[in-house]
């Protein structure tokens, strides 16, 4: 088939419209949040003392970390899914969440006597944390990988990893409402491990499934 002939076929198919990427990403985000919420509320749900907890800085700081991570990963995955879009600004924003966590850890180390550091780090339910963040995040991750297939990421592994970070940030936001361990020492350790697992899963998914 000559290229001229191919163009005839493409031109005849021009009428078919697909949803623009920008809009499709918001739709995917909505679906992912709904899936994560369904998983969260039908299993562990929020902690019973959530109302008083909301008045403490440590509890609220968890949401700052996870939401900043989700927002920056969302901005990055959007540009990664569109060929030729500049990723520099979105990449730079990816340091925001880790930076905030590091800052909070330093503050915590000053605020808490050294004898308590170990207890705060180990917390009371790290296994639940490392089970439920991936469990809540795996559905959203599938949605985001599906979106990457719909898009055209020229760096599929990086885009897949970003999908994992986004799913991790979203899942951790829900999980944080359940978790009794509010210390940045706990968050920096166990949340990070759980989110890293989703990120690895996303990178593998990007490598295997995001072909176009």
């Amino acid at each position: 088939m000559r290229t001229e002939d191919l163009i005839k076929a493409l031109d005849a198919d021009a009428g078919k419209k697909a949803m623009p990427m920008g809009k499709a990403w918001w739709l995917a985000a909505g679906v992912a949040v709904a899936i994560a919420a369904a998983m969260f509320f039908t299993t562990i749900g929020p902690r019973p003392d959530i109302m008083p907890a909301m008045h403490t800085m440590r509890f609220m700081s968890k949401f700052v970390f996870t939401l900043v991570l989700a927002a920056s990963a969302f901005a990055l995955i959007r540009v990664l899914s569109m060929p030729g879009a500049s990723t520099r600004r979105a990449m730079t924003w990816m340091v925001a969440a880790p930076l905030l966590v590091v800052l909070a850890v330093i503050l915590e180390l000053f605020a808490v006597p050294q004898a308590d550091w170990g207890k705060r780090l180990v917390g009371s339910n790290m296994m639940i944390c490392m089970t439920f963040i991936p469990l809540i995040g795996v559905g959203p991750l599938a949605v985001f990988l599906g979106m990457l297939r719909y898009g055209a990421p020229t760096r599929p592994v990086l885009a897949g990893a970003t999908a994992g970070l986004l799913a991790g940030g979203l899942a951790a936001t829900f999980y944080a409402a359940h978790c009794f361990d509010d210390s940045p020492l706990f968050v920096a350790t166990w949340y990070t491990i759980a989110i890293a697992f989703l990120t690895l899963l996303g990178a593998i998914g990007g490598r295997l499934f995001v072909r176009w």
């Binding site: 088939m1 493409l10 078919k16 419209k17 030729g84």
Partner: protein, 178 residues
């Protein structure tokens, strides 16, 4: 020339997405010539036929045209897809290459005309289900319109459009998976 090209090509693709078929054909012809120049420049050793990469790129541009933001420049988008498809073509043949993001080579990629030979796309076409295959080759190789193809095959125009759409999507996907 690039600045003027950019403005003109963006205008054409915007018009095409709004439903102007003439603008789309015009856009694809110009893009094919530019991508051909780009790809031929990048393939210095043999092993990969430039025209195969041009065709893969055009198909990808077609099935992924919703990934272009209509307020963004169109040429970086086109070249990013072409570069991806070029690297992919080398990878499939067991070779790893680095295609540097070479703005200068892209700026001076001159439009070039195609050469004829056996194509990867023919193999992909042969792998389609019979209906899709006859619709796609009727419109492309034989140059029939949607209406003529519908009359020839004795099906509705809608069915022809659906088969064409699915057939092209399947060809594009096959390229990606090989």
């Amino acid at each position: 020339m690039t600045g003027k090209d950019e403005a003109e090509l963006s205008r054409l693709l915007r018009a095409a997405i709004a439903g102007d078929e003439r603008a789309y054909a015009d856009f694809l012809h110009r893009i094919a010539a530019l991508v051909r120049g780009f790809v031929r420049r990048k393939i210095v050793q043999g092993g990969v036929d430039p025209e195969d990469v041009v065709q893969e790129t055009l198909l990808a541009i077609h099935v992924k045209r919703h990934t272009w933001r209509s307020d963004a420049p169109v040429l970086p988008w086109v070249y990013a897809i072409a570069r991806f498809k070029l690297i992919d073509a080398f990878r499939r043949r067991g070779r790893r290459i680095e295609v540097e993001i070479d703005e200068i080579a892209e700026t001076f990629a001159e439009p070039e005309t195609e050469t004829v030979s056996e194509r990867d796309i023919n193999r992909a076409l042969e792998g389609l289900p019979p209906t899709q295959r006859s619709v796609v080759s009727s419109i492309s190789v034989d140059g029939h319109s949607i209406g003529e193809t519908a009359a020839k095959l004795g099906v509705s125009e809608t069915a022809v459009r659906v088969s064409l759409h699915r057939g092209l999507a399947a060809i594009a996907k096959r390229f990606g998976r090989q």
